[in-house]
């Protein structure tokens, strides 16, 4: 089955992203396809590669990134939510005159249409939030 995931909360602030990560791992193990993971509102904070949690703690951003790499998962960050919170890819940084980007590998910035499309194309859309 094709599954779409929506994450509305940032890492370490709320359990939403951890729960979603465990859910996605279990779904992949069972042979389901993750059509897309959409990061919205504070969920965009999952995408910063500048976060450096303590070494004995989980690195949620890296876990998403490596999961995306290993399984070809589309990780999409909402552009409007990202701009408000300082999450930038190279193009957005240049367009807004910023000195650097900070998006982790495997994530891409796009619009809310990608969430709508995931809702249409996936068999189920599951929301994780506060």
């Amino acid at each position: 089955m094709k599954l779409g995931i929506l994450i509305n909360e940032g890492p370490y602030q709320h359990q939403a992203s951890d729960t979603a990560l465990q859910y996605v791992k279990a779904a992949l193990k069972k042979g389901h396809e993750i059509y897309r993971v959409f990061f919205y509102n504070d969920g965009v904070n999952n995408a910063t590669r500048l976060a450096t949690p303590p070494q004995d703690d989980r690195n949620i951003t890296k876990e998403w990134s490596s999961l995306a790499k290993d399984h070809g998962i589309d990780l999409v960050v909402c552009v409007a939510a990202a701009q408000r919170r300082g999450i930038l890819d190279k193009g957005e940084a240049e367009r807004n005159g910023k000195d650097s980007d900070n998006i982790e590998d495997g994530f891409r910035i796009s619009g809310l249409g990608q969430l709508v499309e995931a809702g249409i194309q996936a068999d189920r859309l599951i929301t994780f939030g506060d």
């Binding site: 509305n8 359990q15 729960t19 859910y23 279990a26 779904a27 069972k30 599951i126």
Partner: protein
């Protein structure tokens, strides 16, 4: 409609659990996750609500979230099924839609 409801809040924190139980239709199932797992503990003010609702709905609780909070599995109300993440995935695919109460 056959729907899975997920509840991630304690019933002592806000009213999502009681709202969900009031509004969901007969063939719905309810999965308690995150802080929602406290809802299905025995001998609380909320236990009776769960026990009554069990006559109408199937209920599930996520084991890793019980364990993370130190809540003993033998204190889960009888009739509530204890599940892992793989069963969580099955529940979402077996039901037509998923409603996350946030």
């Amino acid at each position: 409609m056959n729907m899975l409801h997920t509840i991630n809040k304690s019933p002592f924190e806000n009213s999502t659990a009681s709202s969900c139980l009031k509004l969901c239709t007969k063939d719905s199932s309810i999965l308690f996750i995150e802080d929602g797992v406290i809802s299905v503990m025995k001998s609380t003010k909320f236990s009776e609500t769960i026990e009554n609702a069990l006559k109408e709905f199937k209920m599930y609780v996520l084991k890793p979230d019980l364990e993370a909070r130190g809540l003993p599995l033998n204190n889960v109300i009888e009739g509530v099924e204890i599940v892992g993440y793989e069963e969580f995935v099955d529940l979402t695919t077996e039901h037509k839609t998923v409603q996350s109460w946030l």
